[in-house]
């Protein structure tokens, strides 16, 4: 969990200017052309360093999952680069893509729906090995058992079906599936939000333990800020497809810069009745991702909105070391 001096290091994954637009079709379908675009991810850049956890927070629908899925090429990006291991992931195909997928795995939000209900757990876990043709049958079984043991599943679970497990156990299976091929990067897309509080902590501890053990790098997507804070070294805050702020965890909490981040942090309820915080209540409606407002996307709800916000999109800038924000409030003058 070293998150200092990362500038010196070469990033493991370098995402630059990622955009993902979903075309919205007109009433004539393919024939009628495209009516507009849902700009799910809009010019997002970040780096991921080996062994660290980058947390991504943001409200529902702001493009967190789409970002994760695009990096894994589960949907094709509209624009941008993702440099990994000397190559651009978005240019890969065939063999290269497969090899990349061995290194980069995903843990899904809903532990139940991400497991094939008709496959025994053993089969599900062996499948990635079969796909990448790793080991003999026998070896695969051994490998799977080893990993099951690691994530705290019993061996007799090998022959069970997903529905015979509790939510927490299912998420362990999802984790095991991601880890079975020895990946370098694991993208966790809200891995605990479907779980109960008492189970959630089990999984988070497990994630941290495995990270230590295998030197894993996590891209940890969630909307629960306290969870993200607990696990992440750095945090990126997303709003409507944009990465509005990005900073080391401590720095972000100590000094949230973007008005949205401020509102977000202040709105998180604290389980302490004696402690009331001044909440920043946001007014105004969330714009539809189909037609984003001009200028800063947050200006419709921003308590500090200025004229410039309505016409000009802010640029990402490093306000403090490693603390980036896109907001006119911190504008060093531009032309």
């Amino acid at each position: 969990m070293s998150h200092t001096g990362s500038e010196a290091k070469q990033p493991l994954l370098d995402v630059q200017g990622l955009r993902k637009y979903f075309p919205v079709k007109g009433p004539l379908g393919v024939l009628g052309g495209v009516k507009g675009y849902v700009k799910a991810v809009n010019d997002v850049s970040f780096q991921l360093y080996e062994g660290e956890t980058l947390g991504i927070v943001g409200e529902s629908g702001c493009g967190k999952s789409t970002m994760g899925r695009t990096i894994l090429r589960l949907t094709e990006p509209t624009e941008g680069k993702a440099l990994y291991d000397g190559g651009d992931i978005f240019q890969l195909s065939g063999k290269g893509l497969r090899a990349m997928r061995k290194d980069m795995q995903m843990v899904f939000q809903d532990p139940f729906s991400s497991l094939n209900p008709r496959k025994r757990i053993g089969q599900t876990l062996e499948e990635p090995l079969a796909i990448h043709a790793i080991g003999s049958r026998h070896e695969r079984t051994e490998r799977v058992m080893e990993i099951m043991h690691k994530v705290g599943l019993q061996l007799d679970h090998f022959y069970r079906y997903p529905h015979e497990f509790s939510g927490g156990q299912r998420q362990r299976i999802g984790l095991a599936r991601a880890l079975v091929v020895n990946p370098k990067i694991v993208i966790c897309d809200e891995p605990v939000s479907a779980l109960d509080v008492s189970i959630q902590s089990q999984i988070i501890n497990l994630l941290q333990q495995l990270q230590d053990e295998f030197q894993l790098t996590y891209l940890f997507i969630a909307h629960d800020i306290s969870v993200v804070r607990h696990i992440s070294d750095r945090i990126g805050v997303m709003y409507l497809g944009h990465m509005v702020e990005q900073a080391p965890t401590e720095s972000l909490f100590a000094q949230p810069l973007h008005p949205y981040t401020q509102a977000l942090l202040s709105a998180v309820p604290i389980p302490n009745p004696q402690k009331r915080r001044e909440r920043v209540i946001l007014r105004g409606e969330i714009p539809s991702p189909l037609d984003l407002p001009a200028g800063c996307v947050f200006h419709t709800r921003c308590p500090f909105v200025q004229d410039v916000c309505k016409s000009m999109a802010p640029v990402k800038q490093e306000v403090a070391p490693n603390h980036f924000v896109s907001c006119h409030l911190y504008g060093t003058e531009r032309e």
């Binding site: 009433p27 004539l28 379908g29 024939l31 009628g32």
Partner: protein, 316 residues
């Protein structure tokens, strides 16, 4: 809305093309042709050959097909080989019995099915429910032609309450018209009714389990209101789909019933035309029927949108 309709109708074109080609090929590889039928029982091979020549049935298949297709594009379905009318006239004259029958059968089905389906859903698990479901299973298992025979024997021949067969157009009076259609629509409608009863029940049960029904109850809506106002409207959606499909089926395929009750509808026209190898009519009718099928389902979709705003065709 209009664009949507246009799109749906546009999508009809490839379907019609496929259908016409399939049917064209099938009927042309079928032995026998219009000439054999037109000339009567003891015609000789030469006569048949000669007539074939005259009717253009000796041309290569692709040529016959393209010629036919060109004509259709010009809106001309051609002329029946067997009957002294154009294909369009044949279709129109055979259409009204079919439509009357379909509508009546559908009414019979709905009038029976929806109330008892709802009853079964409300009383689920009770003897009432089981009886209704038992009957509906039976209804689905009885082939309509068996039911038709039974009705003819019982109501027509034995009791002589209703005529056993035939068709009288509406111009001859509503009752005369209906009298001839009651038995056929019963035998057709029974299966529909069975199907719709089951649909109603299950879809009603599903809806009754939803949260918004709980919301309605929590608001204090009376039970009747909950069922008829809140539940039925949504429960009706899958039923509507079934109605669309079966009604389309009724228009196109009451073949057996029409044949038993001797109703000169589209089904009869198709069967007879196959028997007469009346190529022009078969192709024309199949085109028509396909269009009708698609249009009916389109209407159903529009209705669907009217009932359920979530699928409304255009948002703006």
């Amino acid at each position: 809305m209009n664009i949507y309709l246009a799109k749906r109708l546009f999508a009809l074109i490839p379907v019609l093309f496929v259908v016409s080609l399939v049917i064209f090929l099938i009927i042309h590889i079928t032995p026998g042709d219009p000439a054999t039928v037109m000339l009567g029982e003891s015609a000789t091979a030469q006569d048949i050959e000669a007539l074939r020549e005259q009717l253009g049935l000796n041309l290569p298949l692709y040529q016959q097909y393209t010629e036919w297709l060109m004509k259709v594009f010009r809106g001309d379905l051609g002329e029946s080989y067997f009957m002294k009318e154009t294909v369009l006239q044949s279709i129109l004259s055979h259409l009204s019995p079919t439509i009357s029958l379909a509508i009546l059968a559908q009414i019979v089905a709905l009038a029976i099915a929806i109330p008892i389906g709802i009853k079964a859903a409300i009383r689920r698990g009770t003897a009432t429910d089981q009886t209704i479901m038992g009957f509906s299973l039976l209804g689905m298992a009885v082939p309509s032609f068996l039911l038709a025979l039974f009705l003819i024997l019982l109501v027509g021949v034995k009791l002589q309450w209703l005529p056993v067969a035939g068709y009288k157009p509406l111009e001859m009076g509503l009752w005369t018209h209906l009298k001839y259609l009651i038995l056929p629509s019963l035998s057709l409608g029974a299966i529909q009714a069975a199907l719709i009863t089951r649909m109603t029940r299950s879809s009603m049960l599903e809806v009754l389990n939803t949260n918004y029904i709980k919301t309605a109850r929590a608001k204090g809506v009376k039970e009747r209101g909950v069922i008829y106002k809140h539940a039925l409207r949504i429960a009706f959606l899958p039923i509507l789909t079934v109605i669309g499909q079966t009604f389309g089926g009724l228009i196109t395929g009451a073949v057996v019933t029409e044949s038993i009750f001797n109703i000169p509808g589209i089904g009869q026209l198709i069967i007879n035309s196959v028997e007469r190898r009346d190529y022009a009519v078969i192709q024309g009718v199949v085109l028509f029927v396909t269009t009708a099928y698609v249009v009916i389902n389109l209407i159903v979709d529009v209705l669907y949108g009217m009932i359920d705003p979530r699928v409304r065709l255009e948002r703006k």
